[in-house]
């Protein structure tokens, strides 16, 4: 009997060991890049991005000069494996020279030492060109870790034709939005004014940002986490009410089903970043001329005080990695990419991008390159410019944002399945973020239901 028990225990042990080994062997990074280490000939740089129109931009850059030769590799978007690929490559010591990182992930890649401190490499000319509200999101302790390409204030993309047909006014405030939502439901019981995305951790963050929330605060050299502060609670209870009254759809949007919902005309609009004007053009070509862009609804109080605020959704930055052997040249490429008219002409002429540049002085270029027939000729970039000016400066993204947003979305998805609430999802995301930060050795503290 005793011998058998030992045997059983050993079997248990051996099997469990397998799981430890499989869980801890990483898949190594891939793709060693061809680098020119000799002085002769052009310097070779590798560039990873998932942004639309990047190939066109790289081609234009390579044509514009003959000292630097950029080899572009299209990678999957961050959530679909692009970030894991970048992390693994950096661990293996063969990260590309230039990588594309969205704003929420900048602190994480900076902390992990993947993104290099660019402060000494950045020219004053470039610095002065970039919108300060964008640069603030990539700068920590006075050091800049990546260069903003575009900054994307949230807007309301709406179906001009449907609002007109039912005589509903496009809402300017969240209070009006709720009323309009009820009107939409009355007019067309199978339709809704918008979707509250269960895959939209970024959306919810953007709404909280607009309301003045500070999920992460670094002002006293500590990561202060307060994802359930008062402004956030205002936002979650607002959306919970709309969800409970069934005034909005509650499902995923970045999926085929979400796109199909828009295609069938069941949603009257999308609350999203400015870039998504181009995304919608690409996804719904049949709805040409039927769309319009309105500012994101405001909280009445902000509007009365004459201080409209808005958060962002989306937007990318370019980082030079620690592995780069040619950081100067990499910076030159980045500067050209974010601030030269030729680069923006190349990207926008691919016909499916409506990024709002983070560098000043490019509006005439992008306005000319953008075909606005889809929006019945509306000057959408004028609206984007005004909204970009309203981006609130109080926001900082956290050190493990991919994980934080993923847990948030896991919670929202369960709420979408009838199990839990929006606030519950935020609370869970906060609770699971703290152990992460603590185990990284960061100075982090929780401010539950924080004031402000």
């Amino acid at each position: 009997m005793h011998a058998r028990r030992i045997r059983i225990a050993l079997t248990a042990l051996a099997t469990a060991a397998l799981l430890v080994t499989t869980a801890c062997t990483g898949s190594g990074g891939e793709g060693a890049d061809a680098r020119n280490s000799l002085g002769d000939g052009p310097v070779h740089l590798t560039f990873w991005s998932s942004l639309r129109g990047s190939q066109e931009v790289v081609d234009a850059f390579n044509k514009s000069q003959d000292r630097i030769r950029v080899d572009f590799e299209q990678v999957p978007s961050g959530q679909l494996g692009g970030y894991a690929k970048l992390s693994n490559a950096a661990r293996a010591g063969n990260a590309p020279d230039v990588a594309t990182i969205e704003y929420p992930q900048v602190p994480g890649f900076a902390i992990d030492g993947v993104a290099r401190d660019l402060t000494p490499l950045m020219s004053d000319r470039l610095r002065s060109k970039l919108l300060p509200q964008a640069l603030a999101l990539t700068t920590f302790e006075k050091r800049t870790f990546s260069v903003p390409q575009d900054v994307e204030p949230m807007v309301y993309l709406y179906r001009r034709d449907l609002f007109k047909k039912h005589g509903i006014k496009v809402p300017r405030t969240w209070e009006e939005f709720e009323k309009a939502a009820a009107q939409v439901k009355r007019a067309e019981p199978g339709s809704r004014i918008a979707t509250f995305p269960t895959d939209g951790g970024h959306h919810l963050a953007g709404f909280a940002w607009q309301a003045g929330a500070r999920w992460f605060d670094t002002s006293d050299s500590t990561w202060t986490v307060s994802m359930t502060d008062k402004p956030t609670r205002k936002v979650t209870s607002y959306w919970q009410r709309l969800i409970d009254r069934k005034l909005v759809f509650l499902n995923s949007v970045d999926t085929q089903a979400g796109t199909a919902q828009v295609g069938r005309g069941e949603v009257f609009g999308k609350l999203t970043g400015a870039w998504d004007a181009g995304g919608t053009m690409a996804a719904q070509p049949a709805q040409k001329g039927k769309w319009g862009v309105a500012p994101l609804p405001q909280w009445e109080r902000d509007l009365k005080r004459g201080k409209p605020r808005v958060g962002t959704h989306g937007g990318s930055t370019f980082a030079v990695t620690k592995d780069s052997e040619h950081p100067k040249e990499a910076m030159e490429f980045i500067e050209w990419q974010v601030s030269s008219p030729a680069s923006w002409r190349a990207r926008l002429s691919s016909g499916i991008s409506s990024q709002y540049p983070a560098a000043k002085g490019l509006l005439p270029v992008v306005r000319k390159a953008m075909d606005t027939d889809f929006f019945a000729g509306q000057d959408i970039y004028r609206l984007f410019r005004r909204e970009a000016g309203h981006i609130s400066r109080d926001w900082t993204w956290g050190p493990r944002m991919t994980a934080t947003l993923k847990t948030l979305q896991d919670g929202l998805a369960r709420a979408g399945g009838g199990d839990g609430t929006v606030l519950g999802a935020v609370e869970e995301a906060q609770r699971s973020t703290m152990p992460d930060l603590k185990s990284l050795g960061l100075d982090a503290r929780l401010r539950e239901g924080g004031r402000r």
Binding site: L13, A14, T15, L19, S87, K406, A413, D419, R431, D436
Partner: protein, 288 residues
């Protein structure tokens, strides 16, 4: 013994030791973390983090619930089928055995893909049929997703366990069964009161393997998480470990979670063997 010891050290003790070692260290950055990284001894910090993480505890809860549903179901179903095969009540015994065993030869990931197809609305012929009968079933919804995973696992592993029971039943001495029949026991009574007690040790083995396998649940939910948001990125302990290592780049945390899972697995396996031993001794003592 030497080859065994070498293998034990290389494929078990070294990796486990590595994981334990890893779990005590961390690439730390003080303050906000933007300074240079250095590897420091972190003591039990990663363990504290794992055990205070609600998503890890929820994953353990999911695994526990899964075990409670899956293990009894598997043991009872496999034993019942084994008895049927053994009793000769099944025609075409070889064909039945093959049909039962075949799913086990299908790799887990393929099995998950097949079932995902059957679970997905709009693709699944089963759901289409149900829809015609005015029934909507959301196999990937909040309430049914765990049973759906159990179903995949039963389909994959049932045949294997049936074979274990069948082999054990074949080894039961025929004279014992003949004696039971002579004493007037019907087929059901023979099965339940004569055969089942004689294959107890196989039942314990099946329970043990199933328990260990269940605690490491990974492939099926990982695949389902791509298609239903209800299965989160840290749905089971193993998925938590994967997420810690490859989404959060926190190898110390992943190692600590692995060690915790290992300890839980050993504890539960030990508990199970204790429990079955005591249960085995109880009737003997009662008879004395």
């Amino acid at each position: 013994m030497a080859p065994f010891l070498v293998l034990l050290v290389v494929v078990f003790l070294v990796p486990v030791g590595g994981a334990v070692w890893l779990s005590f260290f961390s690439d730390d950055q003080p303050g906000l973390g933007f300074g240079p990284e250095r590897t420091v001894f972190a003591g039990l910090r990663s363990y504290e983090a794992v055990l205070s993480d609600p998503t890890f505890l929820a994953g353990l809860g999911t695994a526990a619930l899964y075990c409670l549903v899956y293990i009894p179901l598997m043991v009872v179903a496999a034993l019942a089928l084994g008895l049927l095969l053994d009793s000769g009540a099944v025609r075409l015994r070889r064909t039945a055995q093959l049909a039962l065993f075949l799913p086990h030869a299908v790799p887990g990931i393929i099995a998950a893909i097949i079932w995902l197809y059957l679970y997905t609305p709009g693709l699944s012929p089963v759901l289409d049929l149900l829809a015609k009968a005015d029934l909507t079933v959301d196999f990937l919804g909040v309430h049914l997703v765990l049973p759906s995973i159990v179903n995949i696992a039963v389909w994959s592993n049932l045949g294997y366990n049936v074979i274990i029971f069948y082999a054990a039943l074949q080894a039961v001495p025929r004279e014992v069964i003949e004696a039971a029949v002579v004493d007037g026991a019907g087929p059901v009574r023979t099965a339940l009161q004569v055969k089942v007690p004689l294959v107890r040790s196989s039942a314990v083995m099946v329970m043990m393997f199933t328990l260990i396998w269940s605690l490491q649940l990974f492939t099926e939910p990982m695949l389902l998480s791509q298609s239903t948001p209800v299965v989160g990125s840290r749905f089971t302990p193993n998925m938590y470990i994967y997420d810690a290592a490859f989404t959060r780049n926190n190898y110390g945390l992943a190692a600590a979670a692995s060690v915790v899972l290992l300890v839980v697995t050993i504890a539960l396996s030990y508990g199970l063997s204790r429990w079955t031993n005591r249960a085995a001794r109880a009737p003997e003592e009662a008879a004395r």
